[in-house]
Each structure stands twice: as structure tokens, then as C-alpha cells.
Amino acid sequence: MHFMLNDEQLMIRDTAARFLAEQSTSAAIRRAMQSETGYDPALWHTLSGEMGWSAIHIPEAYGGLGLGYVELALLMEEMGRHLLCSPFHASVALGANALLVAGSEAQKQHWLPAMASGEITATLALPAKGGLWQADAVTARWQQEGEAYVLDGVLNHVPNGHSAGLIIVAAREAKAGGGTALFLLPANTQGLSRTRQASMDQTRPQAEIRLDKVVLPLSARMTGGHAELATLLDLAAIAIAAEQLGVAQAALDSSVAYSKERQQFGRAIAGYQAIKHRAADMMLKAELARSAVYYAACLAQETLSASQHNTAELAQAASLAKAYASEAAFYNAGCGIQLFGGVGITSEYDIQLYFKRAQSTAAFLGSPAWHRARIAAQLLD
């Protein structure tokens, strides 16, 4: 039993940390979030192409690096810590995972190499406005008409949806009792229109995507359905939990650093027990989230490398990681604002950006309450 990072994993984490400390600065974050794409394409090019991040867990047969989900989680953690604006989660944790879990061999061959190199970014379109990120909440409709599929619907909250090159749409068959299917739609597909939505967390762009009698060839349908979508959402939840862990850690670190500098009543506020104990609770939250996230990442790896997997076990680990990391990120960012005092309320300081990221990712891919309810059902029903 060796439940700790090995040297190679520590190196990946430290390299990512150094790179992002240089690149994802406060000024860079603000430039990116006000840009049209919502991220810096040159930076994306470097981190996906040169550094190979978007290839991290894609098998070598599809142009990837063939590393594991723990490595992916470590990258996400550092991105959260440095509040990177990028389509990484959308393209890798939603897009690439969708192909890995639900794609046919031909679809994987066709799309994954370009996603691994970062040439094309992908995303997943699932809920309606205000809807839930869960496999049962699919509202878009599909039906087969001869040698084609026709899709209709309005999808919302699509991460990086306004800039993605490939949009994977979850839809339900229009006839009663019809099944869920996933479709691959290049962004220029006829009948597909999209607009960026103004969002409270400006570091995570979201889009509305309209499908108006979109006609697709039979080859656009993925092999997986409802079960694969559920697995995909669990995998994506684990990845976003890793990002939230980074947010929680950064909020703790920056608050503690500030408390050591800021003097009131003739001494650093870090010396007051009310501050120390709050900081200790923040560290407790972050460390428990870390244990939950790393454990879930190990299970995710097993799921992806095995043909058969225990979905109940993955679901439980994903729920645990997502609930703990969501609460850690929000608690720590919220306490962070309090520990900063007045400057915590200004737009100049970064803690408010972490606070917004914590809230927007808490609602994404299942709130803590939703995940608790899912676990309660497993235990009690």
C-alpha cells in the first residue's frame, strides 16, 4: 500500500506549479477573463502542445502520453491553485473522457489525436437553463429519420461552449421512453448556434447552444448511452474536485500569508487565536478534500483502464470528492475574504475570484447536497 505521490507525480505537480506561477498571474487572469475566448490561446497552445497537458491521460495509441488520472488530477489542482483560465476541464475531462468512455474505435481515432495536441478543444452540452448536471436531466431531443439523426434543443451552461471546436451533445430520443445518446457535433454544424452567457464567475465561460433541426450522419452518434454518460459525469466531477482542491489550498495559503503581514493592535493578526483556529479549520478542509480527491482519482484510473468496472464504487468516490472539495473551496475562499478584511471586498485582490470560482464549480456537476443525497440513497434505500 502506497497511498502517496511518487517522484514522477511530484515532478509533474511541481513543474505545473512553477509554470503557472509565471504564466497565470493576477494580470494574466484578468486579461483572459475579459477576452472574447475567455482564455489566452497562446498560453493554451504552450501548455497543451509543448507541455503535453491535454494529452496527459489519453492513451498513446491516440496520440496521448498515456499517464494516469492521478496525474490529470494534479494538473487540475495546480490550475485551480493558480486560477488558470483555460478550456482544459471542458476539453479533457468532459471531451476526451466522453470519447474514451462512450466513443467507437473510429471516433476515438478521428478525434482524440487532435484533442491530445490541443489543436481542437471539445466540450459537453447537457443541461437546460438552470438544469442539473446529471444523466437523468437530459432535455435535448433526437430522432432517427432514415439515414440521419435530427436533433433539437436549447442547452445551457456549456463550459467554453462558445469557443470549442467539438461539441458533444447529450440528447434523449423524442419518442416516449426513448434512450439517451451522445452525439459529436463539429462547431460549424448547420443549425447549431451559440452565444457566450455573462456569468458571475468570469474565469469560467459558459455558453448557450441552440440546436434547430440539426441533421447528423449516423456516424455522429457515439456508442455509449445513459450508463456511459453517468460514468463520464463522475470522471469529470473528480477532475473538477481536484481543481477545487487547488482553489481551497490557494485560499488558505494567501490568507495565511496576508495574516502574517497585516498588523493590527500592534501585532500581526496571525497571532490571534480566532484567526489561527480559522486557518486550522481551513487546512483541515483542504487536507480531507485532498485525501478524497486522490482516492477518487485512483479509482478513476482503474475505471478507465479496466473494461469492466464497479460503477457504484466510482459514483461514491466521485460524490465524496466533489462534495468535500466543493465545501473546502467555498469555506476557504469565504473565510479568506473575512481574513483579508476590507481589501477582500475589492476587485483588485484575487481572493474574490477564488470565491466566485468556488461557487460556480460547486453548482457544476452536482452540488454537495445532491451528492450527499445520492450517497444517502445508496445507504438507505
Binding site: M1, R372, A373
Partner: protein, 393 residues
């Protein structure tokens, strides 16, 4: 990163499980799930016999070096045994203070002659130990101990003073005592670490009744009691006393978690039976309890990984704060699931049910072994580098 146990470890697990199944039976079957927190006073003579049985088969002191009669077991194997022990319903260990605290300290700091004198008695479980640290004036602030040790003309140290909250002192043969060797010293300077026999007229033990109605801890009075040995030098007491607290590394906590799991399972069973499982608030709290226990396990596996590094130290620093708070919440959840049924005892005059004992005794979890407040101070100071607490003296 890998969370699976090796084939050799799995074979060890099967050995442990089958030995426990074969032996926790017959005359020992009544011991299953007994003697845990809140129930320490029960079935003492049967548990003494059980300790001997464990020892004879070589299932105690697993992590000790072979030269001291141990098995040199890896952390993984110690974890496995603790888990299997709890899974089998193994009773609360009477020898744990000797095995987990006194023994490793003696092995690390005592002379070869002292090791030869004390370690075999712990390994055979013929001699039980208790911990004489806390005093009326020295609780969280342990360095305020006042108990004195005086070196007589005969070259012997004699101990005078009062210890309190001393668990299992009424059963113990030996006590390790933190006492002041230099009467003019204060704080952590001028202390010594003494080994004192409990079987002498100069030692008086008075049980203290707890909120559970039972007495697991005691007051211990020393009136010029003879110390059989001083470990290390006068003045090294604090260093040794602190090292002792670090030895256990929480291996037994994995066993403790199995105990927690069985408490939670009982609560879930009751909630399903009495309909509490339909209540949305209870549902959410049960899910939270389950999640808190799972994450406790992952956190413990991180901190117990062989060759744990800096990251894992952090997991260790937060561990006590998490489990103690979690367990206290579980006690309250148990009562709320039971509703009015929680009020009635098992029998007159005051025999508590297992869940009542859990509810009441779990209030101690956030106090002993460094209270939650002290844990937070330690986290803030050691892990986050925040300023130390101001002292009043």
C-alpha cells in the same frame, strides 16, 4: 500511488482473520465488541486472559523489532491486523498503553538493561501500564507539571505529587511518570521520565466516576514512591515524553475506524427500522457521517503510507481533529435517530446501551490526547507557521 495491498499482505490478512475467527470463540466469544470506549471497565479478567492468548500466538507488539520479541511488521501489516481485529469484534486492548506507548519509548531511549527488564513483561502482557502525565494544574499545558522527583543519598529517585485522569491506573502494574528533577526549573526544562511500580504503599489510586457512571480513569497520588528507573538523563523528560506521543503514528486508528463503522452500521439499521431514514435531515446527516468516515480512512492511509513524506505529515496533523469531531457528531446522530427511545437505559440502575455510551463518552474524544483547541493551535503553528500562543508566565 497505489492503494492495493501486496499478495504477501493479503496472505497476512487471511492468517490474521482466520486466527481471530478461530480464537475469538468459545469462552472468548462474550468479548466480541466489548471493552471499547465507554465500556473499558467491563470483563476485565476475561480480557486479561485474552491478552495472554494474543501474546502467546504472537499477535501483539507486531511492529516491535524482532530483538524485542516483535515481528518487525511493516506499517501495512500493522494496519491490516488492526482492521481485522476490529472487523472480528476484538475487545478493547488492556495492553495498548504498554505496547503502543511505553514499549516503543523504552526501546528508543532506555538502556539495554532497562529494555531487558521491561519489554518482556509488555510483550507477554504480564505487566500492564498506565500514563502519568496530566495533573490538576497541568492539562493542556503539560509542561506545568509539579510532581517532584528527588534523588536520595541511596541513589534512588523518589516521586511525590498527584496525577489525574490516569486511564486504567487501577489495573496497571507500572506507570510512566513525568516529574520535575530540578525543583527550580519551569516549563519543559528540568523534567525526568520515570518508571514507577504501582504495587507500593506510597502509591494511592482513586477511581473517578465518569458521566457514563463507570470509572475508566483515576487520580494517582505519589508519596515518596520509589521510582524503579529513570529513562535517559534528568532534564531529558520532556524530549522523551513528546517522542512517546509520536510513536503510535495512528496505526490503531485504522482499527478504531472499523469500530466506528460498526457503530454507524447500527445507526443505519435502526434508522431503516424506525423510519428515521425517511427524514431528509437525518438522511443528509447519515450520508455525511458515512462520507466523513470514508475520508477518515483515505486520510489515514495517506498518513500511514510507508515512507510518508511532507505531504503526508499534513494529513497526520489534521487527523485527530477530524476523527474526534466526527465521532462526537456520530454520538448525537445516534440519539437523534433513536428519538425518545434514546432516553431509556438497558437496565437499572444505570447500564447504558452501546449508543448511549457512545453519545456520552465521545464528548471526551475532543478533550484527551490534545483537545480540539490544542490541535488547532498545533496545526496553525506547525503546518502554517503562525505565531505561537502567548504564555502567561
Amino acid at each position: 500511488m497505489n492503494m492495493t495491498f501486496s499478495a504477501a499482505d493479503e496472505a497476512f490478512r487471511r492468517d490474521a482473520a482466520s486466527w481471530l475467527a478461530d480464537n475469538l470463540s468459545g469462552e472468548f466469544a462474550i468479548l466480541k465488541h466489548r471493552g471499547g470506549p465507554g465500556d473499558e471497565h467491563s470483563l476485565i479478567s476475561e480480557r486479561r486472559a485474552w491478552e495472554k492468548k494474543l501474546a502467546a500466538a504472537g499477535w501483539n507488539c507486531l511492529g516491535w523489532a524482532a530483538e524485542h520479541g516483535g515481528r518487525d511488521a511493516s506499517i501495512s501489516q500493522q494496519v491490516i491486523f488492526a482492521e481485522e481485529y476490529a472487523r472480528a469484534g476484538g475487545p478493547g486492548r488492556l495492553g495498548h498503553i504498554g505496547e503502543g506507548l511505553a514499549g516503543p519509548t523504552i526501546a528508543a531511549f532506555a538502556s539495554p538493561a532497562q529494555q531487558a527488564r521491561y519489554l518482556p513483561g509488555i510483550r507477554s502482557t504480564n505487566e500492564l501500564w498506565c500514563q502519568g502525565y496530566s495533573e490538576p494544574g497541568a492539562g493542556s499545558d503539560l509542561a506545568a507539571v509539579k510532581t517532584r522527583a528527588v534523588l536520595g543519598d541511596d541513589g534512588q529517585w523518589r516521586i511525590s505529587g498527584q496525577k489525574v485522569w490516569t486511564s486504567l491506573a487501577h489495573l496497571a502494574d507500572w506507570c510512566f511518570v513525568l516529574a520535575r528533577t530540578d525543583p527550580n526549573s519551569h516549563d519543559h526544562k528540568g523534567l525526568g521520565f520515570f518508571l514507577v511500580s504501582m504495587h507500593q504503599a506510597a502509591v494511592t489510586v482513586r477511581p473517578i466516576e465518569q458521566l457514563t457512571g463507570s470509572a475508566e480513569f483515576n487520580e494517582v497520588f505519589f508519596d515518596e514512591a520509589l521510582a524503579a528507573d529513570l529513562v535517559g538523563q534528568p532534564g531529558e523528560g520532556w524530549k522523551i515524553a513528546m517522542a512517546l506521543l509520536g510513536f503510535e503514528r495512528g496505526v490503531s486508528t485504522l482499527g478504531q475506524q472499523m469500530q466506528f463503522r460498526s457503530e454507524l452500521d447500527e445507526i443505519i439499521r435502526i434508522a431503516k427500522e424506525n423510519g428515521a431514514a425517511q427524514d431528509p435531515d437525518i438522511r443528509s446527516r447519515i450520508a455525511e457521517a458515512h462520507m466523513g468516515l470514508s475520508v477518515m480512512r483515505y486520510n489515514a492511509l495517506r498518513m500511514l503510507s510507508d515512507n510518508a513524506g511532507a505531504d503526508e505529515q499534513k494529513a497526520a496533523l489534521v487527523y485527530k481533529l477530524h476523527w474526534s469531531s466526527w465521532h462526537r457528531h456520530l454520538g448525537k446522530l445516534a440519539m437523534d435517530v433513536l428519538g425518545t427511545a434514546s432516553e431509556l437505559c438497558e437496565a437499572a440502575p444505570y447500564a447504558l446501551t452501546r449508543l448511549q455510551a457512545l453519545f456520552l463518552f465521545s464528548r471526551a474524544d475532543t478533550i484527551y490526547g490534545g483537545s480540539n483547541q490544542i490541535q488547532r493551535n498545533l496545526i496553525a503553528e506547525r503546518a502554517l507557521g503562525m505565531p505561537k500562543e502567548a504564555k502567561g508566565r
